[in-house]
Amino acid sequence: MNFTISKSVFYDALQKVVGVVPPKTTISILTCILLELEENTLRITGTDLEISVTLSLNVNRLEDGAVAIPARLLLEIVRELPDVPLNIASEGEERIILKTDKGEYKISTDPREDFPKTNVEEGEFHFSLQSKVLDHMINKTIFAVSADELRPALTGILVEFFPTEIRFVATDGHRLARIVHQYDLPPEAIQNKVIIPTKALNLLLRNLEPNKSVDVQIGEDHIVFTLENSTIYSKLISGMYPNYERVIPQDNDKILQVNRELLISTLRRVSIFSNSLTHQVRFILTPDELTIHSEDIEFGAEATEVISAKYKGEWLQIGYNSAYLMDVLRHLDSEEVIFELKNAVSAAIMYPPEQESDEVVTMLLMPIRLTEEDAEEEDENEAESEHVYEADSSTEENEQPDEGDAKEINE
């Protein structure tokens, strides 16, 4: 094998493939990538046996050949080189020499035969999606994926196919992100659902090129994304995804609308004072006002900020993990955000006031159970608010605090 390639092109290509190489493995060949040169096309393949990435690029060929080469070593040396043409040539069967005008680097290689072969089986159905759409749907959901290896189904994104829409859903049990995109699918795809591993989707995001179409082929236990210059093959996660639709509340009757950026910046400040383990912040909702409070009892620190918001419900106090909440808010693009709430122990539904014409984004976040001290304080606040409302009862009859909710919190 002998070819010449520009450093920047080669480095970009390596970066797209090396992500699949496992950092620790008992099978040493998996730490390598396979370089195959045939005519003027160099194919770079990396795999961890579950996921494979193959990328093709044009090079100046001098001699065909194929070798497996340690991925991270190659990436590190190429990264450190200046942007000059590189010549990569085999030296015998066990080494390659990477030459620049400044010097040369010799790297031990393994024979091509030792590198695992990826057999891409024919898929059951396939369809095409614009890279922009795919990128958007993955980015809107991937943050909510669980890292809990004990619940493997939650470590991937659920993709559901309906006659006129595709749904991407991710959850870690505390928050849930769902995006529905209007799309006409082939009939054989309907009523199918698959769970795609996060690692494969991250690799796909890295390989996506703007304004290009991606061919998605789905088989019984695998998925193949075919891009213009690369192919990503991944095993699907087997297992039952929980019935997420059942946990989306249907009777949240309290609506809060607040400026998203304002809420994020307030949360960032207030959460500095929250407990470092729970990141708990308290939302206290009163008409047209949202009070955000946090405290760290261990350090005697607390913070309170009041921001204006559109809210016409009853007095309500809810605890949230500020890190989770900020994550959700950052993944909504709109200026304002709507919260649909019920009480202090039910999931909040969050979504932008105006959705895109061909998509619907929905986020869910479970609250933190407030501590007894909070609940006691809540009682006091409730009593105070009752007093305020009694004074104003002629004008705000509908805003009496709900005793039932408070009882639920206390219990």
Binding site: T171, L176, V247, V345, A347, P367, I368, R369, E411
Partner: protein, 387 residues
Amino acid sequence: MTRNIIHIDIPDFHIAVERVLEPRLRKRPVAVAIETTTRSLVFSVSGEARQNGVFPGMPLYQALKNCPDLIVLPPNEELYVRATRAMMEIVSRFTPVFEPLRFGHAYLDMTGSGKLFGGVKDAAVKAQREIRNRLRLNAGAGVAGNKLVSKVASDVVTTSGEHHGLCDVRHGYEENFLAPLRVGLLPGVKKKVREQLLDLNVRLIRELAVISSENLQMVFGRFGLLLHRRARGIDNRPVQPPKRAPEIVEVDTLDDDSNDYYFLRSRIFRLLARAARRLREKKLRTARMVIEIHYSDYKEDSARRRFTPCNDDAGLVPIVNNVFDRALGRRVRVRKMTLRLCELSPEPAQLSLFAKEKNPKLGAVTSAMDKIRDRYGEDAIRFGRAA
């Protein structure tokens, strides 16, 4: 900073504790053994019994042959645990860094506490006095700069017959102190090592200390290096307070031994109710249950199970049924039952989307039962079972 370690040692602890309860046992040969068969082994012996040729580990028939007047007592573990706990409570007042070794033995790290007790020797004397006054137990004490030498020092005191004596080894004199002593006094030098050393004509520690570590390693392997250091009084081990994972333990010692399955099961349910209530009071959940069955022949069986964390009776009852059935493996009468709830974790504050839907009525029942027990006592209300 120079370290100051005290080793407290109550000689013949089991006998000493029995003698506190039964003064008539004093000055008489006493042994602790399970008296079910004559082949049972002697567990612990008094000094008087030792003088008559009775030693721990000896078959009981042999002990009775050597000493026909021997008084044999059954082991009373509960009593020993209670006495050890009381002793640890006393030593904990002298230092927060103490390491219980076994029944009646503890290391105290007194480093840096000179201003509190006026010197480590004074502290040792005070601790001995406290143990004698409050528990009526004689404790020997060894004071030194490390655990090894303090242990040997207390052994020197107790084996010399001075059960409440004190031996203080000054800093820098460790090797001199150990030199004339028998090698058997070094920790880890048991019968087999002693015999090997005897083959090398080594009887005293000073004879051991002059052998190079390389030569000792040739004979004893890695232990040779340790032996070399010990013979020179070198020991850098820290005093380590007991590491105990938090757990909730409930024990039921039956008034009369029983092998009635339904009776025993009802008692274990009672233990569970108590333990689960303590769990809820502390706002914790458990993920592991252990049941230990102590039979009247002093044998034990146990069973354990891990499960999804919970703290309500309804969730724990099916588990206790299963674990109890597995633990109760014999038809012998049961003397005592212990229930442990381990792997405790706080109730999660972050609510889950997919939490199992709990029966709210069951939660309310548990809460109401807890309130009734708070007001009218533990046995005021219990779970029943449909026939």
